[in-house]
Amino acid sequence: MATETVRRGRVRRGPGPAQTSEGARAEARLAFWLLIPTGIVLAVIIAYPVVRAIWLSLHSDARFGTSRFVGLDNYIRAFTGTGADAFWSAFVFTTQLTIVTVILELVIGFAMALIMNKAFRGRGLVRASVLVPWAIPTAVAAKLWEWNFTPDGVVNQVFNTNILWTASHWSSFWAIVIADTWKTAPFIALLVLAGLQIIPGEVYEAAKVDGATALQSFRRITLPLVKSAVIVALLFRMLDVLRIFDLPFILTNGANNTETLSTIAYKEAIQQVHPSYGSTLSTITFVYIIIAAFLVNSLARADVVKTASRG
């Protein structure tokens, strides 16, 4: 959608009718001055801490007030050294969480979007209720689900089960998945719905006239056209779950090997007061997220191109 804005900007020329190079240069100059405050603020609040975290990760934690350059020692410690168990456990758990949650949320969100797109009566009510899980603070949602997952809690009652949700690894895993899916699948529904609403109704009418079944229309029209909206949703959610903190921190606090990359980084850096090793873990998390985003983005886009050229 970034390109959309750009394209629109290019079509709708600036304020004046005169588009001389002089005017264009003045416009670029104005843009520069308007963007400068944002640039400075983001440089101070994001760029400086990132660089500083990388610098910290290359130094030892000060035992006796001195910290020295240790090269990649901290990274080796996380990957193969004394920190490897904790790191890889969190790495695997975060990755599993991301894959399962994102798939589940996409499926449920897509189904919701299809329903919302069809529903004419009560659309306002549906849209309003979809916004409720989004508006609830994650910290509150985490407490709410902690409450729902207590042994005598409502989840066990409704499903007539007797699971000690937060007492073992996999039940904790699913508890986090369920809580996160509840909070964010409706949001995905909104993103996909926005994509669905761009598809003109005439396209479906034409397909129907040509004798397409509902399933064919869905596969040949809806899916390809809504694909970019789905990819955006997929990317956002993936980046979000890879850095997940609030929910596991409050719901399980890492018990039964449910630490995520963000929670171990937090615990090392802040609670254990190991800023260097903590920064190492957070830098690895950061790089992992960039790589994952890049891979998924290029895979998904390549697929889009293929589908488009086939059609």
């Binding site: 959608m1 959309e4 804005t5 900007g9 290019r10 020329r13 304020p15 264009a24 416009e27 670029a28 843009a31 308007l34 963007l35 603020v41 801490p49 189904a111 329903i115 069809k118 529903a119 004419f120 009560g122 306002g124 009510l125 849209r127 309003a128 209720s129 979809v130 409720v132 899980p133 989004w134 508006a135 609830i136 603070p137 994650t138 910290a139 509150v140 407490k143 709410l144 689900w145 409450w147 005598d152 964010t184 909104l190 926005a194 609403q197 761009i198 109704g201 955006v232 956002f236 959610r237 980046l239 979000d240 850095r243 903190f245 609030d246 850096a269 802040i270 800023p275 903590g278 957070s282």
Partner: protein, 296 residues
């Protein structure tokens, strides 16, 4: 994504009247079922939070309707043990200041991105989007060290400043999408009709831009209000703790039994204002969220 400008879909379900009634029922019955599923899915846990908050002892009473509704949990929220009023005050100040600052800075950037032409626009948009999705944990340690050295821990500025890191990109994104949809030609029209630039700005541009700016403010405010990680790191006492941290730290009489009734009551108090605002402005918020494509 110009979702709002797209006209509502021509009624797809305007089927020939001759169609058998059974088919209509079956299709709409399914649709109704689907709508019911969405509403229950989204609201049931929220309903449960409210119901639990109204029970004197929610641990023992798991009935779907409070037998003797009581406000005892709400009293407990503000009692000497929890002093939730301070957390509410802190959250209002932190989220409010964050919102104002993010919008003040963001509105200029968004204007440039939505209306002006310059070569590196795509790059700037990309950087801002990347900043919005940045993992906070990667910034946390250096920011914590910085604010510790300044002696600012347990005050508002560390949280407000750190919150800007994700609220400013969010604000720019949502504002840019709103500004791109605005009929800027009207400004020119007003000038042609003899308005001064000042008049055109006050009487045309501000009223046109206000709804988008206002909606962006709501989205940014909610994002700041819901922040937990930074606040948990930068605070130690009630003096600066926002609601999210206070709720996570609630303790009851017994250390081993969480006061879930009280926690749910606090959760309701924190969420109800947001839900009301969201219900009133739902249409615009959905537009802002999906156009920016950014999660709050």
């Amino acid at each position: 994504m110009a979702t709002t400008t797209a006209p509502p879909r021509p009624a797809v379900d305007a089927r020939p009247a001759s169609r058998p009634r059974r088919g209509w029922l079956r299709e709409n019955g399914l649709l109704l079922l689907g709508v019911a599923f969405i509403i229950i899915y989204c609201l049931a846990p929220f309903y449960w939070m409210i119901v639990s908050s109204l029970k004197a002892n929610p641990l023992l009473d798991q009935s779907l309707w409070p037998q003797d509704p009581t406000l005892v949990n709400y009293q407990e929220v503000f009692s000497g043990e929890n002093n939730f009023q301070y957390a509410l005050r802190n959250s209002v100040i932190i989220a409010g200041t964050t919102t104002i600052l993010a919008l003040l800075i963001g509105v200029f950037a968004a204007y440039a991105l939505a209306r002006l032409n310059f070569r590196s626009k795509k790059l700037v948009l990309g950087v801002i989007l990347a900043a919005a999705m940045f993992p906070l944990i990667a910034l946390l340690t250096p920011l914590f060290q910085l604010f510790s050295n300044l002696g600012w821990i347990d005050t508002y500025p560390p949280m407000i400043i750190s919150n800007i890191s994700f609220t400013l990109p969010l604000a720019i994104y949502v504002l840019t999408s709103f500004f791109s949809e605005m009929p800027w030609e009207l400004e020119m029209a007003a000038k042609v009709d003899g308005a001064t630039p000042g008049q055109a700005f006050r009487k045309v541009i501000i009223p046109l831009a206000a709804p988008g700016v206002f909606t962006s403010a709501i989205i940014v405010f909610i994002a700041a209000w819901n922040e937990f990680l930074i606040a948990y790191t930068m605070t130690q006492t009630l003096a600066a703790e926002p609601v999210t941290v206070a709720i996570a730290k609630f303790t009851g009489v017994s250390r081993f039994e969480q006061p879930f009734g009280t926690i749910m009551a606090a959760g309701v108090l924190v969420t109800i204002p947001l839900v009301i605002v969201v219900l009133i402005f739902q249409r615009r918020i959905v537009t802002g969220l999906t156009a920016g494509g950014v999660k709050g």
